[in-house]
Symmetry: C2
Subunit: 332 residues, 2 copies
């Protein structure tokens, strides 16, 4: 059973997930990609993943057979498991609980060679709708406090399988960085009675030096305190705390915005590896007037992450204004 452990000094929970029982030597070159083009996520290989939780099957084909255009399956090597009790307990000064949660894979396309940004708008829209449906389903398990959705694209960003996919991890705790965001946004709202993200959007539109793309429902900016070159945030212009509030219309606009942003980044940076993380309010919470869901997208360009990862201190050699000027000029 995986364990969730809390650092005794800082408020950081870590998943210790050791079921595969590795020897130290197994870590060396652990994440090399297979180079033979084989994909365990391709149609025909449905038996290589656990049975599907959700799929889009325009041809009406039966579950776990080819014919799908999008497929959500449990991760074959889950970091957390749905079965069991949390069993919160201490071990001297330390705190831990069982690794209860969910770990799913959203296979975004049947085509092992296409990446998310290359898909048709309707396909990207389906991916964004799938995120929402999975969040709505998982929130019915009241043990699960947060649903984290993220995507690693490219080997340098941590992707071990090339076939385009995102991941979902549902946790019985609020991840530290989300808790800090909620806390900071709440403090601002207590002081000003306004959502800080709405204020950021207003200032960015007015200043117009860090906006790289804007359409009817979404805006994409290089954030003022960008941690790394070309860090990009996508925010809905209307205030919504929960990603689950996305409807078909806004999912379409999110797809348009995502495709435009990725096109700019891919032209500027030659198809960079990237991580994106969906930041949304905790699934068990009601609407929050102080929080505002958004996507944080970080191209993996520098290798400095090691130090920054260990300190929480970031050095960014490109100002967001420079990056924005460059990206803004790229026509999409």
């Amino acid at each position: 059973m995986p364990e969730l452990r809390k650092d005794p000094v800082v408020d950081r929970w870590v998943i210790i997930s050791t079921e595969r029982g590795r020897r130290p030597s197994d870590f060396i070159e652990l994440v090399e990609e297979r180079s033979d083009g084989f994909s365990p996520f391709a149609p025909g290989n449905e038996d290589m993943t656990p049975p599907e939780i959700y799929a889009i099957r325009p041809d009406g084909s039966p579950a776990n057979t080819p014919g799908w255009t999008l497929r959500v399956v449990p991760n074959k090597y889950p970091a957390l498991r749905v079965e069991g009790q949390l069993n919160r307990r201490g071990e001297g000064i330390y705190d831990k609980m069982n690794g209860i949660g969910a770990h799913e894979v959203i296979i975004e396309t049947p085509n092992p060679e296409q990446n998310l940004a290359e898909l048709e708008l309707s396909e990207i829209e389906n991916v964004f709708i799938a995120y929402k449906l999975r969040m709505e389903d998982l929130r019915r398990d009241i043990r699960l406090k947060y649903v984290m959705i993220f995507k690693n694209y490219g080997h340098a960003a941590g992707a071990t399988i090339k076939h385009s996919h995102s991941q979902l991890i549902a946790t019985p705790i609020i991840p530290k960085q989300v808790a800090e965001e909620l806390h900071g946004a709440k403090a601002y709202h207590d002081l000003k009675e306004r959502c800080i993200f709405c204020d950021i959007i207003r200032q960015e539109v007015k200043d117009n030096i860090r906006v790289i793309y804007e359409e009817e429902h979404f805006i994409a900016i290089e954030p003022f305190a960008a941690r790394s070159p070309f860090e990009t945030w996508i925010l809905p212009k209307e205030h919504h705390s929960h990603y689950e509030q996305l409807d078909e219309l806004t999912a379409r606009h999110l797809a348009i915005t995502f495709k435009a942003v990725m096109k700019k980044l891919n032209i500027a940076l030659q198809n960079p590896p990237y991580n994106f993380v969906l930041h949304s309010a905790p699934v068990q919470e009601d609407q929050l007037s102080h929080y505002h869901w958004h996507i944080e997208l970080i191209p993996k360009l520098t290798k400095f992450a090691g130090f920054e990862w260990g300190t929480g201190f970031f050095i960014n050699p490109t100002s967001p204004e420079e990056a924005a000027q460059f990206l803004k000029e790229i026509e999409v």
Copy 2:
């Protein structure tokens, strides 16, 4: 002038350091190491670095000439600069200040081929003493609140120059992760009137399942909530909040401990890339009964850092107990 910018939502300062004015294409393969074996830090190349701030010259040779065994120089491409005023100011809802601080390089050996762990004990001791001397010197500048010392070893850990060196960044703010540690340790001390790190040491010695090395003055453990496989902490057994309290005797013992720990990690993991970060109390603070300096060492084995970096959420596939058992058995 570099800028320090604060994220408006979370309490995170970022250095925006753009003096080299890069184009996006400059980021692709930015950090490839030179493979021709040339070292700008080697004896004879003293004019390739800014003039030295501190050096050990057993042969009495003049500054900035060969003959040294250890040399501290300003970083040629500093993230922060000593000259100027902080000039704290707002920009609408955003906060920033000038990038005042120091960025230095500790060249640990004249030999471009030897790494820190391979040096003689007396040489490693000199490195640890150099850290202390630089901290003592920099704390006289009262604008500087924190001195961060870290080492990236190996390309995957962010090292761009192979010649063995550490770095020092002195900042006018307390880095977020340090502030969180101080806050957590203070809260524990308020509750228990004991140092949490002293309590960790006591419990680890008693449990004896995560200790990998112990000698008279230092202990090395795999922390309970390790973020990644083989994360290792080295702590002084006696309570000291400030690294600057290190004396010649304890510097020697720290060298012994570091060399033993690195030998174990190098045998277990075949000379892994790693980052280490020295965690010490803010230099302007008096002795703190709630904080306890230590070194956090993280071998770079997995590529998952991208996601974890973006979320503050860690998945560790090796339990610290497994790692400790493996490392403990390696004789040094």
